[in-house]
Amino acid sequence: METMQPSDSALISRYIAGQEDAFAQLLERHKARVFTTIMLIVRDEDVAEDLLQDTFIKAVHTMKSGRYNEEGKFSSWICRIAHNLAIDCFRREKRSPLLNLDTTSHAFNSLSLAEEGAEAALTREETHARLRELIQELPAAQKEVLIMRHYGDMSFQEIADATGVSINTALGRMRYALINLRKKMAAQPVFYDQNLYPRDAAPVRVQRIAS
């Protein structure tokens, strides 16, 4: 039987009341999404680890000082902090760039070699590295919406509000981001090779991702 997971809101209340384990659960629930958001902007794993810490430190300060606003979703709020920190950092780095262009370093840190074998893991990581490159090639506005929606868990309306455009513009940007990616992916059919996704080998069914 599936156990009910406490909502983010419940965890925040428990955390503010002094229960540290609630914060550990929040962190566990959101760290990959926030980290991926940062990684896709700064493209440097060490910098991304630092910015992830800065993001959650800001969250700790806000929540423990009683300034947390319960109105929005925690996931959107934390990703907005991460996004802003990453953009600031990216702009600083553009002025004095770090010479770290290796997007495939630490290639295996999230892969289970025992499960899928070294060769399959390498192919998968190479594919992901190429997809990351394709995302970097998107126009800035499209890339921003794609990251905020797909990894930041922000709704299209929240993205529209955060970026000062209409929801239709945000939707249009996402649409063109996916069209652009699809075109580039079609030119490199390995992206659609189902062998790369052995655990999802079932035919595509109409099943939306959980938001």
Binding site: G18, E20, F23, A24, L27, E28, K31, A32, R33, F35, T36, M39, L40, A48, E49, L52, Q53, F56, I57, V60, H61, K64, N109, S110, R124, T127, H128, L131, R132, I135, L146, R149, H150, Y151, S155, F156, N168, L171, G172, M174, R175, L178, L181, R182, M185, F191, Y192, L196, Y197, D200, V204, V206, Q207, R208, I209, A210, S211
Partner: protein, 76 residues
Amino acid sequence: MIKTFTHETLLRYVYNELPANEQQAIEQALQHDAELAASCADLLLAQQALNGLRRTPSQRTTDSILQYSRTFLRKE
């Protein structure tokens, strides 16, 4: 009458942002409209590919954040 859906509506559907009534309408249409179903499948494939990019931070970073939170509590 056949209802048509824009790509933007389909996009909101696959990201679970449509109100229940519109969601139901699109799900019915997907059963009969092959073109719409193909567009939906394309979006789901794109999502699947994007999901593959998710990365997790190191345990060291996670531990540092938790440690900071515990320390912050003691300082207050």
